[in-house]
Symmetry: C2
Subunit: 261 residues, 2 copies
Amino acid sequence: MLPSDSAMQKFLERLLSRSALDPAEQQAILNLPCNVLQMRARRDIVSPGETVSNACLVAKGLVARFDQMRDGRRQIVGFHIAGDMCDLHSVVAPTAGWGISALSGATILHVPHSALRAIAVEFPAIALAFWRDSTVDASIIAKWVGNLGRQDARARVAHVLCELGIRMERAGVAASRTCFVLDATQEQLADAVGLTAVHVNRTIQRLRRDGLIESRGHTVEVKDWPALAQTAEFDPAYLLLDDNARWTTQPSAIRTHGSGQ
Amino acid sequence: MLPSDSAMQKFLERLLSRSALDPAEQQAILNLPCNVLQMRARRDIVSPGETVSNACLVAKGLVARFDQMRDGRRQIVGFHIAGDMCDLHSVVAPTAGWGISALSGATILHVPHSALRAIAVEFPAIALAFWRDSTVDASIIAKWVGNLGRQDARARVAHVLCELGIRMERAGVAASRTCFVLDATQEQLADAVGLTAVHVNRTIQRLRRDGLIESRGHTVEVKDWPALAQTAEFDPAYLLLDDNARWTTQPSAIRTHGSGQ
DNA sequence: CGGCACATTGACGTGCATCAAACCGTGTGG
DNA sequence: CCACACGGTTTGATGCACGTCAATGTGCCG
Protein backbone atom coordinates (compact mmCIF):
# COMPACT_ATOMS: atom_id res chain seq x y z
CA MET A 1 0.00 0.00 0.00
CA LEU A 2 1.33 3.39 -0.96
CA PRO A 3 1.74 5.92 1.81
CA SER A 4 -0.75 8.13 0.02
CA ASP A 5 -3.34 5.32 0.10
CA SER A 6 -2.88 4.88 3.81
CA ALA A 7 -3.35 8.59 4.41
CA MET A 8 -6.50 8.70 2.31
CA GLN A 9 -7.74 5.70 4.25
CA LYS A 10 -7.22 7.63 7.50
CA PHE A 11 -9.10 10.59 6.10
CA LEU A 12 -11.94 8.28 5.10
CA GLU A 13 -12.02 6.83 8.60
CA ARG A 14 -12.22 10.29 10.05
CA LEU A 15 -15.20 11.06 7.83
CA LEU A 16 -16.83 7.72 8.63
CA SER A 17 -16.53 8.34 12.34
CA ARG A 18 -19.11 11.09 11.96
CA SER A 19 -20.92 10.44 8.67
CA ALA A 20 -22.23 7.26 7.11
CA LEU A 21 -21.09 6.74 3.51
CA ASP A 22 -22.06 3.89 1.22
CA PRO A 23 -19.43 1.82 -0.63
CA ALA A 24 -19.55 3.93 -3.81
CA GLU A 25 -19.07 7.10 -1.80
CA GLN A 26 -16.22 5.54 0.14
CA GLN A 27 -14.58 4.49 -3.07
CA ALA A 28 -14.92 8.01 -4.45
CA ILE A 29 -12.94 9.29 -1.48
CA LEU A 30 -10.26 6.63 -1.84
CA ASN A 31 -9.91 7.38 -5.54
CA LEU A 32 -9.13 11.05 -4.95
CA PRO A 33 -5.99 12.08 -6.82
CA CYS A 34 -3.11 13.60 -4.89
CA ASN A 35 0.52 14.68 -4.89
CA VAL A 36 2.80 13.71 -2.06
CA LEU A 37 4.79 16.53 -0.51
CA GLN A 38 7.56 16.26 2.08
CA MET A 39 7.87 19.25 4.42
CA ARG A 40 10.75 20.05 6.75
CA ALA A 41 9.93 21.34 10.21
CA ARG A 42 9.05 25.03 10.44
CA ARG A 43 8.24 25.32 6.73
CA ASP A 44 5.10 27.12 5.65
CA ILE A 45 2.87 24.95 3.49
CA VAL A 46 0.50 27.80 2.67
CA SER A 47 1.46 31.44 3.13
CA PRO A 48 -1.01 33.87 4.66
CA GLY A 49 -3.28 35.33 2.01
CA GLU A 50 -2.38 32.87 -0.69
CA THR A 51 -5.07 31.53 -3.05
CA VAL A 52 -4.82 27.77 -3.27
CA SER A 53 -6.28 25.18 -5.62
CA ASN A 54 -5.43 22.14 -3.51
CA ALA A 55 -6.42 21.05 -0.06
CA CYS A 56 -3.77 19.64 2.28
CA LEU A 57 -4.25 16.20 3.77
CA VAL A 58 -1.83 15.51 6.60
CA ALA A 59 -0.32 12.04 6.23
CA LYS A 60 2.31 12.37 8.95
CA GLY A 61 3.53 15.01 11.37
CA LEU A 62 2.06 17.97 13.18
CA VAL A 63 0.67 20.87 11.20
CA ALA A 64 -0.81 24.18 12.32
CA ARG A 65 -3.06 26.79 10.83
CA PHE A 66 -2.02 30.26 11.90
CA ASP A 67 -2.84 33.92 11.72
CA GLN A 68 -0.05 36.45 11.41
CA MET A 69 0.17 39.96 12.84
CA ARG A 70 1.86 42.93 11.23
CA ASP A 71 4.95 42.58 13.37
CA GLY A 72 5.31 38.93 12.38
CA ARG A 73 4.02 37.45 15.63
CA ARG A 74 1.88 34.43 15.02
CA GLN A 75 -1.24 32.99 16.56
CA ILE A 76 -1.86 29.33 15.91
CA VAL A 77 -5.54 28.76 15.29
CA GLY A 78 -5.58 24.98 15.23
CA PHE A 79 -3.45 21.86 15.16
CA HIS A 80 -3.79 19.12 12.58
CA ILE A 81 -2.61 15.52 12.78
CA ALA A 82 -2.49 12.55 10.43
CA GLY A 83 -5.83 11.99 8.74
CA ASP A 84 -6.92 15.63 8.94
CA MET A 85 -7.65 17.53 5.76
CA CYS A 86 -6.42 20.65 7.39
CA ASP A 87 -7.93 23.12 4.96
CA LEU A 88 -10.87 21.24 3.57
CA HIS A 89 -12.76 24.52 3.85
CA SER A 90 -10.48 25.98 1.19
CA VAL A 91 -12.59 24.06 -1.33
CA VAL A 92 -15.30 26.66 -0.80
CA ALA A 93 -13.03 29.52 0.31
CA PRO A 94 -9.71 29.25 -1.51
CA THR A 95 -8.46 32.69 -0.53
CA ALA A 96 -8.21 33.28 3.16
CA GLY A 97 -6.02 35.23 5.49
CA TRP A 98 -4.42 32.35 7.32
CA GLY A 99 -1.37 30.26 6.61
CA ILE A 100 -0.50 26.65 7.24
CA SER A 101 2.82 25.57 8.63
CA ALA A 102 4.52 22.26 9.39
CA LEU A 103 5.57 22.29 13.05
CA SER A 104 7.44 19.01 12.81
CA GLY A 105 8.66 17.28 9.70
CA ALA A 106 5.50 16.31 7.86
CA THR A 107 4.12 14.45 4.87
CA ILE A 108 1.34 16.28 3.07
CA LEU A 109 -0.93 15.17 0.27
CA HIS A 110 -2.14 17.87 -2.06
CA VAL A 111 -5.66 17.07 -3.22
CA PRO A 112 -7.07 19.23 -6.04
CA HIS A 113 -10.12 21.28 -5.14
CA SER A 114 -11.65 20.32 -8.45
CA ALA A 115 -11.66 16.63 -7.49
CA LEU A 116 -13.08 17.30 -4.05
CA ARG A 117 -15.75 19.55 -5.45
CA ALA A 118 -16.62 17.02 -8.14
CA ILE A 119 -17.41 14.23 -5.69
CA ALA A 120 -19.24 16.64 -3.40
CA VAL A 121 -21.51 17.58 -6.28
CA GLU A 122 -21.96 14.00 -7.44
CA PHE A 123 -22.66 12.55 -3.96
CA PRO A 124 -24.79 14.69 -1.64
CA ALA A 125 -23.75 12.54 1.29
CA ILE A 126 -20.14 13.47 0.63
CA ALA A 127 -21.00 17.15 0.49
CA LEU A 128 -22.67 16.87 3.88
CA ALA A 129 -19.76 14.84 5.25
CA PHE A 130 -17.32 17.52 4.11
CA TRP A 131 -19.48 20.24 5.59
CA ARG A 132 -19.72 18.29 8.85
CA ASP A 133 -15.95 17.75 8.91
CA SER A 134 -15.38 21.49 8.43
CA THR A 135 -17.84 22.12 11.22
CA VAL A 136 -15.79 20.02 13.59
CA ASP A 137 -12.77 22.19 12.90
CA ALA A 138 -14.88 25.29 13.38
CA SER A 139 -16.17 23.94 16.67
CA ILE A 140 -12.62 23.41 17.87
CA ILE A 141 -11.70 26.95 16.94
CA ALA A 142 -14.77 28.27 18.74
CA LYS A 143 -13.68 26.41 21.85
CA TRP A 144 -10.28 28.01 21.56
CA VAL A 145 -11.89 31.44 21.63
CA GLY A 146 -13.41 30.56 24.99
CA ASN A 147 -10.12 29.13 26.12
CA LEU A 148 -8.17 32.24 25.19
CA GLY A 149 -10.74 34.73 26.32
CA ARG A 150 -11.78 33.35 29.67
CA GLN A 151 -9.15 30.92 30.98
CA ASP A 152 -5.79 31.52 32.62
CA ALA A 153 -2.46 30.15 31.43
CA ARG A 154 -2.70 26.91 33.38
CA ALA A 155 -6.15 26.05 32.03
CA ARG A 156 -5.22 27.02 28.49
CA VAL A 157 -2.19 24.76 28.34
CA ALA A 158 -4.09 21.94 30.02
CA HIS A 159 -6.89 22.29 27.50
CA VAL A 160 -4.62 22.00 24.51
CA LEU A 161 -3.04 18.88 26.01
CA CYS A 162 -6.43 17.30 26.62
CA GLU A 163 -7.61 18.10 23.13
CA LEU A 164 -4.53 16.71 21.44
CA GLY A 165 -4.54 13.62 23.64
CA ILE A 166 -8.08 12.77 22.69
CA ARG A 167 -7.65 13.58 19.03
CA MET A 168 -4.42 11.59 18.71
CA GLU A 169 -5.95 8.62 20.45
CA ARG A 170 -8.96 8.82 18.15
CA ALA A 171 -6.83 9.08 15.02
CA GLY A 172 -4.58 6.22 16.08
CA VAL A 173 -1.59 8.56 16.19
CA ALA A 174 -1.07 7.90 19.90
CA ALA A 175 -1.70 4.72 21.83
CA SER A 176 -3.75 6.56 24.42
CA ARG A 177 -4.86 10.02 25.41
CA THR A 178 -2.52 9.88 28.36
CA CYS A 179 0.67 9.29 26.39
CA PHE A 180 1.49 10.96 23.10
CA VAL A 181 4.21 12.72 21.18
CA LEU A 182 3.71 16.46 20.90
CA ASP A 183 6.16 17.55 18.24
CA ALA A 184 6.05 21.24 18.98
CA THR A 185 8.43 23.59 20.72
CA GLN A 186 7.27 25.57 23.71
CA GLU A 187 7.36 28.63 21.53
CA GLN A 188 4.90 27.04 19.10
CA LEU A 189 2.74 25.98 22.01
CA ALA A 190 2.85 29.57 23.20
CA ASP A 191 1.65 30.74 19.79
CA ALA A 192 -1.32 28.40 20.19
CA VAL A 193 -2.41 29.44 23.68
CA GLY A 194 -1.72 33.15 23.30
CA LEU A 195 1.16 33.35 25.77
CA THR A 196 4.91 33.79 25.64
CA ALA A 197 7.27 30.84 25.50
CA VAL A 198 8.66 31.78 28.90
CA HIS A 199 5.28 31.68 30.54
CA VAL A 200 4.34 28.43 28.84
CA ASN A 201 7.52 26.96 30.23
CA ARG A 202 6.67 27.99 33.77
CA THR A 203 3.11 26.78 33.33
CA ILE A 204 4.21 23.35 32.14
CA GLN A 205 6.60 23.10 35.06
CA ARG A 206 3.75 23.79 37.40
CA LEU A 207 1.63 21.10 35.79
CA ARG A 208 4.58 18.74 36.25
CA ARG A 209 5.21 19.73 39.84
CA ASP A 210 1.54 19.22 40.63
CA GLY A 211 1.75 15.70 39.25
CA LEU A 212 -0.65 16.26 36.36
CA ILE A 213 1.79 15.47 33.58
CA GLU A 214 5.33 14.33 32.90
CA SER A 215 7.33 14.99 29.77
CA ARG A 216 10.57 13.73 28.38
CA GLY A 217 11.64 15.22 25.09
CA HIS A 218 8.51 15.69 23.07
CA THR A 219 6.62 12.87 24.74
CA VAL A 220 3.83 13.95 27.04
CA GLU A 221 2.54 11.59 29.68
CA VAL A 222 -0.62 12.57 31.49
CA LYS A 223 -0.32 11.20 35.02
CA ASP A 224 -3.70 12.41 36.25
CA TRP A 225 -6.20 12.79 33.43
CA PRO A 226 -9.20 13.72 35.59
CA ALA A 227 -7.26 16.49 37.29
CA LEU A 228 -5.94 17.78 33.98
CA ALA A 229 -9.40 17.78 32.43
CA GLN A 230 -10.74 19.46 35.56
CA THR A 231 -8.27 22.36 35.49
CA ALA A 232 -8.86 22.74 31.75
CA GLU A 233 -12.65 22.59 32.14
CA PHE A 234 -12.31 20.11 29.31
CA ASP A 235 -15.51 18.61 27.93
CA PRO A 236 -14.89 16.62 24.73
CA ALA A 237 -18.41 17.24 23.44
CA TYR A 238 -17.15 19.97 21.15
CA LEU A 239 -15.04 17.44 19.25
CA LEU A 240 -18.25 15.75 18.09
CA LEU A 241 -16.89 12.26 18.46
CA ASP A 242 -19.91 10.67 20.01
CA ASP A 243 -20.48 7.51 17.99
CA ASN A 244 -24.19 7.66 18.65
CA ALA A 245 -24.33 10.89 16.73
CA ARG A 246 -23.03 9.29 13.55
CA TRP A 247 -25.19 10.45 10.72
CA THR A 248 -26.69 9.32 7.51
CA THR A 249 -27.95 11.78 4.96
CA GLN A 250 -31.49 11.36 6.30
CA PRO A 251 -31.04 11.25 10.04
CA SER A 252 -34.56 12.18 11.05
CA ALA A 253 -35.15 8.60 12.14
CA ILE A 254 -32.08 8.60 14.36
CA ARG A 255 -32.62 11.49 16.69
CA THR A 256 -35.55 13.80 16.87
CA HIS A 257 -35.41 15.26 20.34
CA GLY A 258 -34.45 18.87 21.05
CA SER A 259 -36.34 22.05 21.66
CA GLY A 260 -37.79 23.38 18.48
CA GLN A 261 -40.92 22.79 16.47
CA MET B 1 -44.69 40.88 2.47
CA LEU B 2 -44.53 38.98 5.73
CA PRO B 3 -41.63 39.77 8.01
CA SER B 4 -40.53 36.15 7.67
CA ASP B 5 -40.34 36.54 3.90
CA SER B 6 -38.20 39.61 4.21
CA ALA B 7 -35.80 37.82 6.54
CA MET B 8 -35.54 34.83 4.23
CA GLN B 9 -34.87 37.26 1.41
CA LYS B 10 -32.00 38.75 3.38
CA PHE B 11 -30.60 35.29 4.03
CA LEU B 12 -30.82 34.51 0.33
CA GLU B 13 -29.00 37.73 -0.47
CA ARG B 14 -26.27 36.81 1.93
CA LEU B 15 -25.86 33.45 0.20
CA LEU B 16 -25.95 35.05 -3.24
CA SER B 17 -23.22 37.49 -2.29
CA ARG B 18 -20.82 34.55 -2.20
CA SER B 19 -22.46 31.76 -4.22
CA ALA B 20 -24.34 31.78 -7.50
CA LEU B 21 -27.70 30.03 -7.36
CA ASP B 22 -30.10 29.51 -10.25
CA PRO B 23 -33.79 30.53 -10.01
CA ALA B 24 -34.97 27.09 -8.87
CA GLU B 25 -32.38 27.03 -6.14
CA GLN B 26 -33.27 30.53 -5.05
CA GLN B 27 -36.91 29.58 -4.90
CA ALA B 28 -36.06 26.55 -2.78
CA ILE B 29 -34.48 28.87 -0.24
CA LEU B 30 -37.39 31.28 -0.26
CA ASN B 31 -39.84 28.42 0.22
CA LEU B 32 -38.17 27.23 3.40
CA PRO B 33 -40.70 26.81 6.21
CA CYS B 34 -40.21 28.68 9.45
CA ASN B 35 -41.67 29.75 12.78
CA VAL B 36 -41.38 33.33 13.95
CA LEU B 37 -40.08 33.81 17.46
CA GLN B 38 -39.87 37.05 19.44
CA MET B 39 -37.03 37.23 21.95
CA ARG B 40 -36.56 39.73 24.76
CA ALA B 41 -33.10 41.12 25.37
CA ARG B 42 -30.75 38.88 27.37
CA ARG B 43 -32.78 35.74 26.70
CA ASP B 44 -31.03 32.55 25.64
CA ILE B 45 -32.34 31.19 22.36
CA VAL B 46 -30.34 27.98 22.63
CA SER B 47 -28.85 26.76 25.91
CA PRO B 48 -25.32 25.39 25.99
CA GLY B 49 -25.28 21.69 25.21
CA GLU B 50 -28.80 21.54 23.89
CA THR B 51 -29.62 19.38 20.86
CA VAL B 52 -31.63 21.35 18.36
CA SER B 53 -33.68 20.44 15.31
CA ASN B 54 -34.06 23.96 13.95
CA ALA B 55 -31.59 26.53 12.76
CA CYS B 56 -32.03 30.15 13.84
CA LEU B 57 -32.28 32.85 11.22
CA VAL B 58 -31.92 36.33 12.65
CA ALA B 59 -34.59 38.63 11.27
CA LYS B 60 -33.95 41.57 13.57
CA GLY B 61 -31.69 42.42 16.48
CA LEU B 62 -28.26 41.42 17.68
CA VAL B 63 -27.59 37.82 18.58
CA ALA B 64 -24.47 36.13 19.95
CA ARG B 65 -23.11 32.64 20.10
CA PHE B 66 -21.32 31.99 23.36
CA ASP B 67 -19.34 29.49 25.34
CA GLN B 68 -19.91 29.19 29.06
CA MET B 69 -17.41 28.37 31.80
CA ARG B 70 -18.10 26.38 34.94
CA ASP B 71 -18.44 29.49 37.06
CA GLY B 72 -20.98 30.95 34.66
CA ARG B 73 -18.69 33.46 33.00
CA ARG B 74 -19.33 33.70 29.29
CA GLN B 75 -17.23 34.14 26.22
CA ILE B 76 -19.02 35.37 23.14
CA VAL B 77 -17.74 33.56 20.10
CA GLY B 78 -19.48 35.54 17.40
CA PHE B 79 -22.10 38.17 16.69
CA HIS B 80 -25.00 37.68 14.31
CA ILE B 81 -27.14 40.31 12.64
CA ALA B 82 -30.23 40.31 10.45
CA GLY B 83 -29.87 37.89 7.55
CA ASP B 84 -27.46 35.57 9.35
CA MET B 85 -28.45 31.97 9.90
CA CYS B 86 -26.52 32.00 13.10
CA ASP B 87 -26.27 28.25 13.58
CA LEU B 88 -26.52 26.93 10.08
CA HIS B 89 -23.79 24.50 11.07
CA SER B 90 -26.24 22.88 13.49
CA VAL B 91 -27.77 21.17 10.44
CA VAL B 92 -24.75 18.88 10.40
CA ALA B 93 -23.87 19.16 14.11
CA PRO B 94 -27.08 19.56 16.12
CA THR B 95 -25.49 18.95 19.51
CA ALA B 96 -22.76 21.36 20.39
CA GLY B 97 -21.37 22.94 23.48
CA TRP B 98 -22.30 26.53 22.76
CA GLY B 99 -25.41 28.55 23.37
CA ILE B 100 -27.09 31.36 21.48
CA SER B 101 -28.40 34.44 23.18
CA ALA B 102 -30.31 37.56 22.13
CA LEU B 103 -28.30 40.61 23.19
CA SER B 104 -30.99 43.07 22.18
CA GLY B 105 -34.61 42.36 21.57
CA ALA B 106 -34.66 40.14 18.50
CA THR B 107 -36.86 38.40 15.98
CA ILE B 108 -35.78 34.87 15.15
CA LEU B 109 -37.02 32.46 12.53
CA HIS B 110 -36.78 28.79 13.39
CA VAL B 111 -36.06 26.80 10.24
CA PRO B 112 -36.28 22.99 10.54
CA HIS B 113 -33.05 21.11 9.91
CA SER B 114 -35.01 18.60 7.89
CA ALA B 115 -36.02 21.27 5.36
CA LEU B 116 -32.51 22.67 5.11
CA ARG B 117 -31.03 19.22 4.70
CA ALA B 118 -33.60 18.31 2.08
CA ILE B 119 -32.74 21.18 -0.24
CA ALA B 120 -29.02 20.65 0.35
CA VAL B 121 -29.39 17.06 -0.82
CA GLU B 122 -31.59 18.00 -3.75
CA PHE B 123 -29.45 20.89 -4.98
CA PRO B 124 -25.67 20.39 -4.80
CA ALA B 125 -25.17 24.11 -5.33
CA ILE B 126 -27.15 24.80 -2.18
CA ALA B 127 -25.10 22.32 -0.21
CA LEU B 128 -21.93 24.09 -1.31
CA ALA B 129 -23.48 27.48 -0.59
CA PHE B 130 -24.37 26.37 2.94
CA TRP B 131 -20.92 24.94 3.45
CA ARG B 132 -19.39 28.19 2.20
CA ASP B 133 -21.61 30.24 4.46
CA SER B 134 -20.55 28.17 7.46
CA THR B 135 -16.97 28.65 6.40
CA VAL B 136 -17.38 32.40 6.56
CA ASP B 137 -18.49 32.12 10.17
CA ALA B 138 -15.59 29.81 10.90
CA SER B 139 -13.20 32.26 9.32
CA ILE B 140 -14.51 35.02 11.54
CA ILE B 141 -14.05 32.88 14.61
CA ALA B 142 -10.52 32.02 13.55
CA LYS B 143 -9.75 35.70 13.25
CA TRP B 144 -11.08 36.21 16.77
CA VAL B 145 -8.59 33.65 18.04
CA GLY B 146 -5.80 35.78 16.63
CA ASN B 147 -7.43 38.88 18.03
CA LEU B 148 -7.72 37.42 21.53
CA GLY B 149 -4.38 35.68 21.56
CA ARG B 150 -2.10 38.32 20.14
CA GLN B 151 -3.72 41.76 20.41
CA ASP B 152 -4.11 44.11 23.34
CA ALA B 153 -7.38 45.54 24.61
CA ARG B 154 -7.35 48.57 22.32
CA ALA B 155 -6.82 46.51 19.18
CA ARG B 156 -9.39 43.93 20.22
CA VAL B 157 -12.17 46.44 20.74
CA ALA B 158 -11.24 48.28 17.57
CA HIS B 159 -11.34 45.04 15.62
CA VAL B 160 -14.82 44.14 16.76
CA LEU B 161 -16.03 47.59 15.82
CA CYS B 162 -14.50 47.34 12.36
CA GLU B 163 -15.95 43.90 11.80
CA LEU B 164 -19.45 44.88 12.85
CA GLY B 165 -19.30 48.10 10.86
CA ILE B 166 -18.45 46.27 7.67
CA ARG B 167 -20.91 43.47 8.24
CA MET B 168 -23.77 45.78 9.09
CA GLU B 169 -23.07 47.92 6.06
CA ARG B 170 -23.00 44.81 3.91
CA ALA B 171 -26.23 43.44 5.32
CA GLY B 172 -28.01 46.78 4.97
CA VAL B 173 -28.47 46.96 8.74
CA ALA B 174 -26.44 50.16 8.95
CA ALA B 175 -26.18 52.97 6.44
CA SER B 176 -22.41 52.85 6.51
CA ARG B 177 -19.53 51.17 8.25
CA THR B 178 -18.79 54.39 10.05
CA CYS B 179 -22.15 54.78 11.72
CA PHE B 180 -24.15 51.96 13.19
CA VAL B 181 -26.19 50.89 16.19
CA LEU B 182 -24.41 48.44 18.44
CA ASP B 183 -27.12 47.11 20.70
CA ALA B 184 -24.85 45.56 23.29
CA THR B 185 -23.81 46.61 26.76
CA GLN B 186 -20.17 47.11 27.58
CA GLU B 187 -20.35 43.95 29.61
CA GLN B 188 -21.48 41.96 26.57
CA LEU B 189 -18.74 43.59 24.55
CA ALA B 190 -16.33 42.53 27.25
CA ASP B 191 -17.54 38.95 26.93
CA ALA B 192 -16.72 39.14 23.24
CA VAL B 193 -13.20 40.52 23.50
CA GLY B 194 -12.14 38.56 26.56
CA LEU B 195 -11.86 41.51 28.94
CA THR B 196 -13.81 42.89 31.87
CA ALA B 197 -16.52 45.49 31.44
CA VAL B 198 -14.43 48.01 33.36
CA HIS B 199 -11.48 47.65 31.06
CA VAL B 200 -13.66 47.78 27.96
CA ASN B 201 -15.06 51.03 29.30
CA ARG B 202 -11.61 52.56 29.73
CA THR B 203 -10.56 51.28 26.32
CA ILE B 204 -13.57 52.81 24.58
CA GLN B 205 -12.90 56.09 26.36
CA ARG B 206 -9.39 56.05 25.03
CA LEU B 207 -10.65 55.42 21.49
CA ARG B 208 -12.98 58.37 21.96
CA ARG B 209 -10.33 60.63 23.41
CA ASP B 210 -8.01 59.77 20.52
CA GLY B 211 -10.74 60.81 18.09
CA LEU B 212 -11.20 57.40 16.51
CA ILE B 213 -14.84 57.01 17.46
CA GLU B 214 -17.76 58.75 19.08
CA SER B 215 -20.75 57.13 20.68
CA ARG B 216 -24.06 58.33 21.99
CA GLY B 217 -26.27 55.70 23.51
CA HIS B 218 -25.82 52.59 21.47
CA THR B 219 -24.91 54.41 18.29
CA VAL B 220 -21.27 54.15 17.28
CA GLU B 221 -19.78 56.69 14.93
CA VAL B 222 -16.35 55.98 13.54
CA LYS B 223 -14.65 59.34 13.08
CA ASP B 224 -11.40 58.01 11.66
CA TRP B 225 -11.88 54.67 9.96
CA PRO B 226 -8.31 54.31 8.64
CA ALA B 227 -6.89 54.89 12.11
CA LEU B 228 -9.33 52.48 13.68
CA ALA B 229 -8.56 49.80 11.11
CA GLN B 230 -4.88 50.48 11.61
CA THR B 231 -4.91 49.98 15.36
CA ALA B 232 -7.06 46.88 14.91
CA GLU B 233 -4.82 45.49 12.16
CA PHE B 234 -8.13 45.01 10.41
CA ASP B 235 -8.06 43.39 6.99
CA PRO B 236 -11.57 42.51 5.74
CA ALA B 237 -10.27 39.65 3.58
CA TYR B 238 -11.32 37.13 6.21
CA LEU B 239 -14.96 38.13 5.74
CA LEU B 240 -14.82 36.76 2.20
CA LEU B 241 -16.89 39.52 0.73
CA ASP B 242 -14.91 40.10 -2.41
CA ASP B 243 -17.50 40.09 -5.17
CA ASN B 244 -14.95 38.78 -7.64
CA ALA B 245 -14.74 35.60 -5.63
CA ARG B 246 -18.40 34.83 -6.08
CA TRP B 247 -18.72 31.23 -7.06
CA THR B 248 -20.69 28.88 -9.20
CA THR B 249 -20.66 25.17 -8.57
CA GLN B 250 -18.04 24.74 -11.26
CA PRO B 251 -15.67 27.61 -10.70
CA SER B 252 -12.64 26.13 -12.42
CA ALA B 253 -13.18 28.50 -15.32
CA ILE B 254 -13.25 31.54 -13.08
CA ARG B 255 -10.03 31.39 -11.18
CA THR B 256 -7.22 28.92 -11.58
CA HIS B 257 -4.25 30.76 -10.16
CA GLY B 258 -2.58 29.91 -6.89
CA SER B 259 0.33 27.77 -5.89
CA GLY B 260 -0.52 24.13 -6.24
CA GLN B 261 -0.59 21.65 -9.12
C1' DC C 1 34.99 20.05 20.55
C1' DG C 2 32.08 23.78 19.03
C1' DG C 3 27.75 25.36 17.57
C1' DC C 4 22.94 25.71 17.70
C1' DA C 5 18.28 25.38 18.87
C1' DC C 6 15.59 24.86 22.70
C1' DA C 7 14.54 24.75 27.75
C1' DT C 8 15.10 26.98 32.01
C1' DT C 9 15.81 30.60 35.49
C1' DG C 10 15.70 35.29 37.54
C1' DA C 11 14.61 40.31 37.97
C1' DC C 12 11.59 43.61 36.85
C1' DG C 13 7.76 46.12 34.53
C1' DT C 14 2.90 46.55 33.02
C1' DG C 15 -1.70 45.62 31.26
C1' DC C 16 -5.54 44.11 32.82
C1' DA C 17 -8.44 42.16 36.85
C1' DT C 18 -10.65 43.09 41.01
C1' DC C 19 -13.28 45.49 44.26
C1' DA C 20 -15.96 49.19 45.51
C1' DA C 21 -18.11 53.45 45.10
C1' DA C 22 -20.30 57.16 42.63
C1' DC C 23 -22.79 58.68 38.74
C1' DC C 24 -26.43 58.80 35.25
C1' DG C 25 -30.63 57.99 32.48
C1' DT C 26 -34.88 55.93 32.48
C1' DG C 27 -38.99 53.98 34.04
C1' DT C 28 -42.22 53.45 38.08
C1' DG C 29 -45.11 54.57 41.76
C1' DG C 30 -46.74 57.75 45.21
C1' DC D 1 -43.65 66.37 39.93
C1' DC D 2 -40.66 64.36 43.01
C1' DA D 3 -38.75 59.88 45.28
C1' DC D 4 -36.90 55.92 44.23
C1' DA D 5 -35.09 51.81 42.18
C1' DC D 6 -32.50 49.73 38.62
C1' DG D 7 -29.37 48.68 34.86
C1' DG D 8 -25.65 50.52 32.91
C1' DT D 9 -21.51 53.61 32.75
C1' DT D 10 -17.74 55.83 34.86
C1' DT D 11 -14.03 56.52 38.20
C1' DG D 12 -10.36 55.33 41.56
C1' DA D 13 -7.20 52.33 44.36
C1' DT D 14 -4.80 48.23 44.53
C1' DG D 15 -2.95 43.62 43.24
C1' DC D 16 -1.47 39.97 40.36
C1' DA D 17 -0.76 37.26 36.12
C1' DC D 18 1.73 37.53 32.51
C1' DG D 19 5.18 40.07 29.45
C1' DT D 20 9.89 41.48 28.68
C1' DC D 21 14.71 41.18 28.77
C1' DA D 22 18.73 38.83 29.57
C1' DA D 23 21.57 35.18 31.18
C1' DT D 24 22.52 30.35 31.87
C1' DG D 25 21.78 25.43 31.20
C1' DT D 26 21.31 21.35 28.23
C1' DG D 27 20.95 17.98 24.66
C1' DC D 28 21.94 17.05 19.89
C1' DC D 29 24.52 17.04 15.74
C1' DG D 30 28.34 17.87 12.72
